[in-house]
C-alpha cells in the first residue's frame, strides 16, 4: 500500500467535515465538524512529516492541536452564551445580519 492513501483519507475526512459544517444547524455539531476538518489536516501533516523524513510536519500538527484547543474553549464559550441569550444553539437563528 502506498502511504499516499493516508492523504486520500485525510482529504475525504476534510470534505466530510466541511460538508457537515454546511448542512448542520446545531452549533455544537458544526463545531465538531470543524474539529474533524482540523484533525484531517493534522493527519496530512503527519504523513507529510513521514514523507520528508523530518519532524516539522509534526510540529505544525502539534501547534494545530494547541490552536484547536484554544479555539474550542472560546467557541464553546460563545455557544454557551449564545444559548443563554437566544435559548437555542441553532446557527440559523443568529441571522441578524439579514436586512
Amino acid at each position: 500500500m502506498n502511504p499516499v492513501n493516508y492523504l486520500y483519507l485525510s482529504a475525504l475526512l476534510f470534505t466530510i467535515g466541511a460538508t457537515g459544517v454546511l448542512i448542520r444547524r446545531n452549533a455544537i455539531v458544526v463545531f465538531m465538524c470543524i474539529e474533524l476538518m482540523l484533525n484531517a489536516c493534522n493527519l496530512a501533516f503527519v504523513v507529510f512529516s513521514r514523507m520528508h523524513g523530518n519532524l516539522d510536519g509534526q510540529i505544525i500538527a502539534f501547534f494545530t492541536m494547541v490552536v484547536a484547543a484554544a479555539e474550542v474553549v472560546v467557541g464553546l464559550a460563545i455557544i454557551v452564551s449564545l444559548f443563554r441569550t437566544r435559548h437555542s444553539a441553532s446557527v440559523d437563528d443568529a441571522s441578524l445580519m439579514k436586512l
Partner: protein, 280 residues
C-alpha cells in the same frame, strides 16, 4: 520499523490496519455529520479521533498519537460533551433543511472540493517517502523538543499566550456580571403579591403512578399539561415530557382488553373521542 517507514509501500500489516481502521474512521466521520443527536455525533467523532491517533502512531508520530488521545479525545471531546449536556442531551435536531438549495449546494461544493483534492493529490505523484526513522533516531519526543525549543520557540511561546488568552476569553464570555443586587426571597415574594401572579408556590410537576420526574408536566383539572410545573431550563430546552395522553391510551388499552375478555365486538369510538375532546 524504520526501514519499513522509508519504503514506497507499507507493510501488509499497516495496509490491513489502514483499510480496516480507515473505513471505520470514515463511517465515524459520516455519523458525526448525520446523527440527529449531538451526543451521538460527539461519540462518533471521539471514535474517529482515536483511530486518527492510531494512524499517527503508525506514521511515526508517537508523541502526537498520545497527545491526540489525551488532549483531543480526553479533554476536548469531554468539553464538548459538557456543553452538549448543558444545552440538552436528549434534544434531537431535525435534519430537515430550511434554507432553499443549501443542502444541494453544500453537497455539490463538498463533492467538487473532494474531487479536486483527490485530483490534486493524484496529480502530485508522490512516490518517495523518506520515512521518519532518521528523524526519530534520538526518540520522537526528543526530536520534537529539539525543534520546538529552538526553531519554533517563538511560535511556541505565542501559542502559550494564545492559550491564556483563550482561557481568559472563555471566562469573560461565559461569566455574567451581575449589574444589580440579587433580590432576596422576601422581595421576590412581595413582588409576586404585588403583581398578583403565582402568589402560592408554583405547582409541583406531575406525579403519576408510572412517571415521577421533574420533566413531566402536571395536569390541570381539565387534563391539559401545565408548563408551569416544569423547571424553566427544561422548558427552554424543549425537554418537557408529555404523558397526558398516555393515561388515555392506557385507559383505551385497558378497555380494549376488557372488551376482548368480555367478547364485546362493538367498540364505540364516539365515546372515546368525546373523552379526548374533553381532555383538550
Amino acid at each position: 520499523m524504520s526501514p519499513q517507514l522509508a519504503a514506497y509501500t507499507t507493510s501488509t500489516g499497516e495496509a490491513f490496519q489502514f483499510w480496516v481502521l480507515g473505513t471505520v474512521a470514515v463511517i465515524g466521520a459520516l455519523c458525526t455529520v448525520f446523527m440527529r443527536k449531538a451526543v451521538h455525533s460527539a461519540l462518533c467523532l471521539a471514535g474517529t479521533m482515536i483511530i486518527l491517533a492510531v494512524f499517527y502512531l503508525a506514521n511515526g508520530a508517537y508523541f502526537l498519537g498520545i497527545v491526540q488521545i489525551v488532549v483531543y479525545t480526553g479533554a476536548i471531546m469531554m468539553l464538548f460533551l459538557f456543553v452538549v449536556m448543558l444545552v440538552g442531551v436528549t434534544a434531537a435536531d431535525s435534519l430537515k433543511e430550511t434554507i432553499a438549495g443549501q443542502r444541494w449546494l453544500a453537497l455539490l461544493c463538498g463533492v467538487g472540493f473532494g474531487v479536486l483534492l483527490f485530483a490534486g493529490i493524484a496529480n502530485a505523484s508522490l512516490k518517495e517517502f523518506a520515512g521518519t526513522g532518521k528523524a526519530n533516531a534520538n526518540g520522537n519526543v526528543e526530536g520534537l523538543a529539539a525543534l520546538i525549543f529552538t526553531k519554533y520557540v517563538f511560535a511556541f511561546e505565542i501559542t502559550g499566550a494564545l492559550l491564556i488568552t483563550a482561557a481568559v476569553g472563555a471566562m469573560v464570555l461565559t461569566h455574567r456580571e451581575r449589574t444589580e443586587r440579587a433580590r432576596t426571597q422576601r422581595e421576590l415574594a412581595e413582588q409576586r403579591v404585588r403583581e398578583g401572579k403565582n402568589v402560592p408556590p408554583l405547582p409541583a410537576p406531575g406525579v403519576y403512578a408510572r412517571h415521577n420526574a421533574v420533566d413531566i408536566a402536571g395536569l390541570l383539572p381539565d387534563g391539559t399539561p401545565s408548563e408551569l410545573t416544569v423547571s424553566k431550563t427544561l422548558r427552554e430546552r424543549g425537554q418537557v415530557r408529555d404523558v397526558s395522553t398516555e393515561a388515555l391510551n392506557d385507559l383505551r388499552a385497558l378497555e380494549q382488553r376488557a372488551e376482548e375478555r368480555l367478547e364485546r365486538t362493538e367498540i364505540e369510538p364516539a365515546n372515546l373521542k368525546r373523552a379526548e375532546e374533553a381532555s383538550k
